[in-house]
C-alpha cells in the first residue's frame, strides 16, 4: 500500500508541472499588460517609471527588452519549488499567503456544500430507487436534470432576488454581518446557507442519480433475494444489506466532487461576494496579477490531484480486488 501511495504521489508531480507550464503560458500570452493596467490613470507617470516597474517584476530584461516567457517561467519555477510564489503585483504581499488567508472561507463553503450534498443527495437517490417508476421518482429525476443543466450563477442570483431582496430573510453577500464578531456562529450560518446550497445543487443532482442506479443494481442482487428469503424485515434488508453495498462505490464519486466544489466555488464566491480563493483568483485573473493567478491555480490543481489520490486510496481500501501495480 505504501508503494502504491508513493507511486501515485510521484505521478502527481509531472501533472502539476504540466499544469503550471500551461497556465503560465496562457496568462502571459493573453492580451494586456499588468503594469499598464495598474498605472492607468496615474497621469504623471513617465515611460521610464513604467519600465522600472516592469523590470522590478521581472517582465523585462535590464536592457529594457521583453523577457522571454520561457526564462520568466524558469525564474518563477525556481522560486516556486522552494515555496515562494512571488508577491502579488497589486497587494505587494506574498501571493501564497494571500491565498492561504482565504482558504478557510473556501473550505468552509465547500465543506458545507459537501454535507448538504450528502444529506440531501443520498436520501433522494435511495427514495427514487425504492419508489421507482412512481411520481416521486419522476420528480426527483426531473430535479436532478435541472440541478445539472441550470448554471449555478443564475440560480444564485435567483435565490438572492427571492430570499434577500423580496423576502429579506437571508443576507445576500459576504461571510457575516458588518460589525458582528467573527465567532458569531448563527450569523455565519445564515450567511453560508444560500451559497452552500446553490453550490451543492449539482452535487445533489449527481448523487441522487448515482445512488439511484447503484441501489437499483444492488436490490436485484442474489444476496438481497436471499436476505428476503431468510425472512428479514424489509428495513434491515434495505439498511443492513442493500444500502451499505450501494454506498461503497460512492466513495469513488467523492474525489471528483471535491474538485467540482473547489472549481464551482469560483463562480459562487463571485455571486455571493464570498471572500475565498475563488473570488480572489478570479479578481487576479481580471487584473493580470500573475503571481496570484499562478498560486491560485496551483492550489486548485493540488487539491484536485489530492482528491483523486484520496479517491484512489479509498477505492483500494474498500475494494481489495484493486491490485496495486
Amino acid at each position: 500500500m505504501r508503494t502504491y501511495i508513493l507511486r501515485r504521489v510521484l505521478y502527481a508531480i509531472p501533472t502539476l508541472f504540466g499544469i503550471s507550464i500551461l497556465v503560465f503560458a496562457v496568462t502571459r500570452m493573453a492580451p494586456g499588460d499588468p503594469v499598464r493596467l495598474y498605472t492607468f490613470g496615474a497621469l504623471n507617470i513617465t515611460e521610464e517609471d513604467i519600465q522600472g516597474i516592469r523590470l522590478h517584476y521581472g517582465l523585462v530584461n535590464p536592457d529594457g527588452t521583453e523577457r522571454n516567457i520561457a526564462l520568466q517561467y524558469v525564474d518563477w519555477i525556481t522560486l516556486a519549488v522552494q515555496g515562494d510564489f512571488g508577491k502579488s503585483l497589486q497587494y505587494r504581499q506574498p501571493a501564497l499567503n494571500l491565498l492561504v488567508e482565504r482558504l478557510p472561507a473556501t473550505l468552509q463553503l465547500a465543506t458545507a456544500a459537501l454535507i448538504l450534498q450528502l444529506l440531501i443527495g443520498i436520501p433522494l437517490g435511495v427514495v427514487a430507487a425504492l419508489k421507482r417508476g412512481t411520481w416521486i421518482d419522476n420528480v426527483i429525476r426531473v430535479f436532478a436534470v435541472i440541478g445539472h443543466a441550470v448554471p449555478t450563477f443564475w440560480i444564485g442570483l435567483l435565490f438572492i432576488i427571492v430570499f434577500s431582496v423580496s423576502f429579506r430573510v437571508l443576507p445576500s453577500q459576504g461571510l457575516l454581518t458588518v460589525g458582528h464578531d467573527v465567532w458569531d456562529i448563527p450569523d455565519r450560518l445564515k450567511h453560508i446557507l444560500m451559497p452552500a446550497f446553490v453550490l451543492s445543487l449539482a452535487g445533489i443532482a449527481n448523487y441522487s442519480r448515482y445512488l439511484r442506479t447503484e441501489t437499483l443494481d444492488v436490490i436485484n442482487q442474489d444476496y438481497i433475494r436471499t436476505a428476503h428469503a431468510k425472512g428479514l424485515r424489509e428495513r434491515s434488508v434495505m439498511y443492513g444489506h442493500a444500502l451499505r453495498n450501494a454506498l461503497i462505490p460512492m466513495v469513488t464519486a467523492l474525489g471528483p466532487l471535491l474538485a467540482v466544489l473547489v472549481g464551482g466555488s469560483l463562480v459562487i464566491e463571485q455571486v455571493f461576494t464570498w471572500p475565498g480563493v475563488g473570488q480572489f483568483t478570479y479578481a487576479a485573473a481580471r487584473s493580470k496579477d500573475y503571481p496570484v493567478i499562478m498560486a491560485g491555480v496551483m492550489i486548485a490543481a493540488t487539491l484536485l490531484v489530492l482528491s483523486y489520490l484520496i479517491r484512489d486510496i479509498a477505492y483500494a481500501l474498500v475494494d481489495p480486488r484493486i491490485k496495486v501495480k
Partner: protein, 576 residues
C-alpha cells in the same frame, strides 16, 4: 474641503476605471429627493453609530505613496490628511494641515503645519513627515506616482540614489513644523498634485527609506496594510481582505473627533447587488446608476442626493490611425457631432440624470469656457450630411458615404460591463447609420482595452470611455501632442490629437510663468473653445452622481469636486 486629493488626479483627471462601477463622483447642484425630515433641525448632532459604504473594489494598499487604485484611495483619504484640501464646491485648493506662501518667482513654497495637527498616536505632524512621504515615493520600486515630485529640486537625483538628500526641501531647524520646497521650474498644479500628497508618519515609515541605500524602500512595509499612526478623521482597525475595511474614529483628530464611531468599506459584487443592499439596509451609502433609480423612488427610508460630478463619457476619434484617415478631416468629426442626438442619449442612457457635454472641463469649473462661446452641435442630420459632402464624400448605393472607394466605416470600442457605455454605443450605431456612417460596435474587457489605448494600437479607431476627477485644469498629459499614444511611446492622448496652438496653451497653463487663476482661466477657456471647434472627441455626456444614503444620516453635503461625497464624513451623524 476634500480631505485628500486623489493621487495623481491632480493633474488632469483619472480615467474612469471599473466598468460597472464607473466611479461615483461629486456634486454641484445638490437636490435632495425624498422629504428631508425638518425635525432634524431641532436635534443636535449625537455621537455613535456606523456608516457602511458599498464599493466594488477592495483596498490594495493603504499607503497613498505606492497606490493608485480607487479602493485604496477611498480608504487612505480617510486616514491621511493632506497639507491642502480641495473645496468640494469650487475645486479651489485651500489650507488644511498647513498654510503656505509662494515666492515672487513662483518657484519656492513655504509651509507651516498647523500646531494642533498630531498623529493619532499623539506625536506632532511635522515637516519631516512630508519629507518622509516624498522620500518613500522617490525610492519605491512599484509606485505609479513616482514622477509627481519630479519638478522638486534634487528629487530625481535622490530617487536614483545619486544624492542622499533632496536639496529642494529644507526643514526649518528652529521650527520642525516649517519647511520650504523649491521647484526647478514653475509648476502651476503644484498645490494640488505635489502638496495634495498626504504627509506620512516619519516615526513609522522613516526607517524603510535609507538615504544612502537606494535598494531599501517602503514597498514591503507591514504598515502599508495596517497603518499604526494616522492624521485623518479615522484610524485603521481591520482589513478583512476581499470583504471589508473597518476604520474607527480618531479621537485626536485636529479638527475634532468625528461623530460616527466606525466607517466600513464593504465590497459588493455589482451595481444590482449594491442597489439591493441599500434597500435592505445592509449598506448605508452607495452610488447607483440612473437605470436603478426607479427602484428607489418608493423607498422612504433612503435619501437620494443628486449632484454634478467632474467626469464625462466621450467618443474619441483616432485621428492618427491610417485605417480611418478620414477622421483627420475636421469636417468629418464635426459631422459626427451633428449626427448624434445627445439630448436623446441623455434621456435614454442617463434617464435625464446628466447633461450633454461640450468641452474637456466640467461646465462648473472656472477653467471651462462659457456655454455661449461654444458650438452646442445640436442634432442636425442635414448639416451633418452637408459637411460630409463638403469633405468630398458621396453616398453609395448601400446608403453609406464613401470617398475614393473607401466607405465611412468606423469601429467603436468600449469596455465590457459598463451598461451605460454599452447603451451609448448602441445608440451611436443606430444614429450614425441615419447619416450614412457605418459603425461597427465592439466591446472589450477593460484590462485588454487599456494597453491598446495607451499604446496607440491600430486596432483602436474610436473609443467610448471617460475621464473623471478633473479638478486641477492642467490637461497636459491628455491633450499635449507629446503625449500622443503610439506603439513606441505610451500616452494618455489616446486619439493622437495634435494642435500647436493647444500645445502652447497647455504649456502656459502648466508652467506659467503666471499661475494666477485669472490668467489660467483665459488660457483654458481658449483651449476649450478650440477643442469644441476641432471635435477630437464627440464630448458625450456628463452623468450626475446618484448617491443613496440612509435617511437617518445627517450632515451630508456633497459637492462636485469630491467624487465620493464623503469629504465631510467627520461631520456626519446618525439620528437616533
Amino acid at each position: 474641503m476634500t480631505r485628500h486629493i486623489w493621487r495623481a488626479v491632480t493633474v488632469a483627471g483619472l480615467l474612469s476605471l471599473i466598468a460597472a462601477a464607473c466611479a461615483p463622483s461629486g456634486p454641484a447642484a445638490t437636490e435632495q429627493q425624498t422629504a428631508a425630515p425638518a425635525a432634524a433641525a431641532t436635534q443636535g448632532p449625537v455621537s455613535g453609530g456606523r456608516i457602511i459604504v458599498g464599493t466594488f473594489v477592495d483596498m490594495q494598499r493603504a499607503n497613498p505613496a505606492t497606490s493608485n487604485d480607487s479602493g485604496s484611495s477611498a480608504v487612505s483619504s480617510k486616514i491621511y490628511d493632506s497639507l491642502i484640501t480641495v473645496d468640494p464646491k469650487t475645486g479651489e485648493a485651500k489650507p488644511w494641515l498647513g498654510t503656505w506662501t509662494v515666492s515672487s518667482d513662483g518657484l519656492t513654497f513655504s509651509w507651516t503645519i498647523d500646531p494642533k495637527a498630531n498623529w493619532s498616536d499623539g506625536k506632532p505632524i511635522t515637516a519631516n513627515d512630508f519629507l518622509a512621504r516624498v522620500k518613500m515615493q522617490a525610492r519605491s520600486k512599484v509606485t505609479p506616482n513616482k514622477s509627481v515630485f519630479n519638478d522638486i529640486e534634487g528629487y530625481q537625483d535622490y530617487s536614483t540614489g545619486k544624492a542622499t538628500s533632496i536639496s529642494g526641501i529644507k526643514v526649518d531647524s528652529a521650527d520642525p513644523k516649517k519647511f520650504t520646497a523649491k521647484f526647478t521650474r514653475v509648476f502651476c498644479p503644484a498645490l494640488t498634485s505635489v502638496f495634495g500628497s498626504a504627509p506620512m508618519p516619519d516615526h513609522v515609515f522613516g526607517k524603510y527609506t535609507v538615504d544612502n541605500d537606494p535598494t531599501k524602500n517602503v514597498d514591503d512595509a507591514p504598515e502599508n496594510n495596517a497603518p499604526t499612526a494616522t492624521s485623518g478623521p479615522f484610524k485603521f482597525k481591520e482589513w478583512r481582505k476581499g470583504d471589508q475595511v473597518i476604520l474607527v474614529k480618531n479621537e485626536n483628530y485636529f479638527k475634532g473627533a468625528p461623530y460616527i464611531d466606525e466607517l466600513v468599506y464593504k465590497v459588493v459584487a455589482d451595481t444590482s447587488v449594491l442597489a439591493a443592499q441599500l434597500k435592505t439596509g445592509e449598506l448605508t451609502v452607495g452610488s447607483i446608476n440612473a437605470p436603478d433609480l426607479a427602484g428607489f423612488q418608493t423607498e422612504d427610508r433612503l435619501k437620494i442626493y443628486k449632484f454634478n460630478q467632474v467626469s464625462y463619457t466621450y467618443i474619441g476619434w483616432r485621428a492618427n490611425n491610417p485605417n480611418v484617415a478620414f477622421l483627420q478631416d475636421k469636417r468629418v468629426r464635426q459631422a459626427l457631432a451633428y449626427g448624434i442626438d445627445m439630448s436623446a442619449v441623455v434621456r435614454s442612457v442617463l434617464l435625464g440624470e446628466g447633461t450633454k457635454n461640450l468641452q474637456h472641463h466640467p461646465s462648473f469649473l472656472w477653467a471651462a469656457a462659457p456655454e455661449k462661446d461654444l458650438n452646442p452641435y445640436n442634432y442636425d442630420k442635414s448639416k451633418a450630411e452637408d459637411l460630409l459632402k463638403s469633405a468630398g464624400f458621396a453616398k453609395g448605393a448601400d446608403g453609406v458615404y464613401a470617398k475614393d472607394g473607401k466607405p465611412l466605416a468606423i469601429t467603436i470600442v468600449t469596455n465590457q460591463g459598463n451598461k451605460l457605455r454599452e447603451t451609448f454605443l448602441q445608440v451611436a450605431v443606430e444614429q450614425y447609420k441615419q447619416i450614412g456612417v457605418k459603425i461597427t460596435p465592439k466591446v472589450e474587457a477593460f484590462e485588454a482595452l487599456v494597453p491598446k489605448l495607451t499604446g496607440g494600437s491600430p486596432e483602436i479607431e474610436a473609443v467610448i470611455i471617460g475621464w473623471t476627477n478633473i479638478v486641477e485644469p492642467d490637461s497636459f498629459t491628455v491633450w499635449h501632442s507629446s503625449n500622443a499614444a503610439s506603439p513606441t511611446k505610451a500616452g494618455n492622448n489616446f486619439v493622437g490629437y495634435s494642435n500647436p496652438e493647444v500645445d502652447k496653451l497647455l504649456e502656459q497653463g502648466r508652467n506659467g510663468p503666471d499661475c494666477s487663476q485669472a490668467t489660467r482661466q483665459k488660457i483654458y477657456q481658449q483651449f476649450n473653445k478650440i477643442l469644441n471647434e476641432d471635435q477630437p472627441y464627440m464630448f458625450g455626456y456628463a452623468p450626475k452622481n446618484l448617491l443613496v444614503i440612509d435617511g437617518r444620516v445627517q450632515g451630508v453635503d456633497p459637492g462636485p469636486f469630491n467624487a465620493e461625497g464623503l469629504w465631510n464624513i467627520d461631520k456626519w451623524w446618525i439620528k437616533k
